[in-house]
């Protein structure tokens, strides 16, 4: 019997490489005991609750150990920076066209942002050395994309923002999985 997959992935994404092994093992052991005593739904609820309530503490430990700093730096340089630079570029392009400055951007510009995020996050994912790191990169790239959109000059439509934030981790994990399968 396995704990809920999403909670397991979240745990591996936020916990440091050193801690993830023991924390996941401890939670798995107690999850099995709870499932035997109170049933699987109660065990799953407890597992998800523990992961959600421990996430900030585990992330803090990862930052203190310096491990998360590398992931954040990679995500900022590879995902957030290109997005912000693209935003500046599109703003410049619009400012050069009479009567276009300040108008909503055409779908083509948003599509370019999306492709850029996918490519950059994929490059990040391809450099991850383990599943644990790949999950960390995916989480960090989604956060970096969200920050870049929030920081950007133009108001991003909600659908586009959702697509960009989802595309970053998906493409990062997809390339990592493809590389592993090869």
């Amino acid at each position: 019997m396995k704990p809920p997959a999403l909670a397991r992935f979240l745990l591996l994404a936020v916990a440091g490489e050193h801690q993830a092994e023991f924390v996941a093992g401890d939670l798995h052991e107690e999850f099995l005991l709870l499932c035997a005593a109170r049933g699987r739904p109660a065990g799953s609820r407890w597992y998800v609750g523990q992961v959600l309530r421990s996430a900030a503490t585990l992330l803090g430990m990862r930052f203190r150990s310096g491990e998360a700093a590398h992931l954040v730096a990679a995500a900022v340089l590879a995902v957030a920076m290109p997005l912000l630079l693209l935003d500046r570029l599109w703003r410049f392009v619009y400012s050069q066209i009479p009567l276009k400055d300040g108008l909503e951007r055409a779908p083509g510009f948003w599509a370019a942002n999306l492709i850029c995020v996918c490519v950059c996050a994929a490059v990040c994912g391809s450099l991850a050395s383990s599943v644990h790191r790949a999950l960390g990169v995916a989480l960090a790239s989604a956060a970096a994309a969200a920050c870049a959109l929030w920081w950007g000059a133009a108001a991003t439509p909600t659908v586009i923002a959702g697509l960009v934030i989802a595309a970053a981790p998906v493409s990062s994990l997809a390339v990592f999985a493809w590389r592993r399968l090869r």
Binding site: E21, F22, G25, D26, Q50, S54, A55, L58
Partner: protein, 112 residues
């Protein structure tokens, strides 16, 4: 004692749980021991953060065991008090007893 070396309340609880559990002191058991004895709903993250801090302070030492099936094929990290940790626990107990000495419980005005 230099500032920062004194034990916090939760650190003390974790150290006492490690002492009680002996060779069986690892994250899950420590969490369960504290929950069972104090009624606190402690998270595994808080327990590991504290255990890690105590190891860094030199009050606990950690060792790894082989991965087992009931842990999903993952290793276990067990903890044991060091000599410095034992001294710190004794000092914390003396301090607490000294502070409690002469006080009458329940305290006036508090819940009975």
């Amino acid at each position: 004692m230099p500032k920062g070396e004194a034990l916090g309340e939760f650190e003390y609880l974790v150290m006492l749980a490690v002492m009680r559990l002996g060779a069986d002191a690892y994250g899950m058991r420590v969490r369960q021991e504290i929950a069972a004895r104090t009624g606190r709903d402690v998270t595994i993250g808080a327990v590991y953060a504290t255990l890690e801090r105590l190891v860094e302070k030199g009050l606990l030492s950690a060792s790894l065991s082989e991965p087992t099936a009931e842990r999903g094929g993952r290793a276990k990290r067990s903890f044991v008090l060091t000599g410095v940790g034992m001294e710190a626990a004794n000092r914390a107990r003396r301090d607490l007893e000294s502070m409690l000495d002469g006080l009458e419980f329940p305290l006036p005005g508090g819940p009975r």
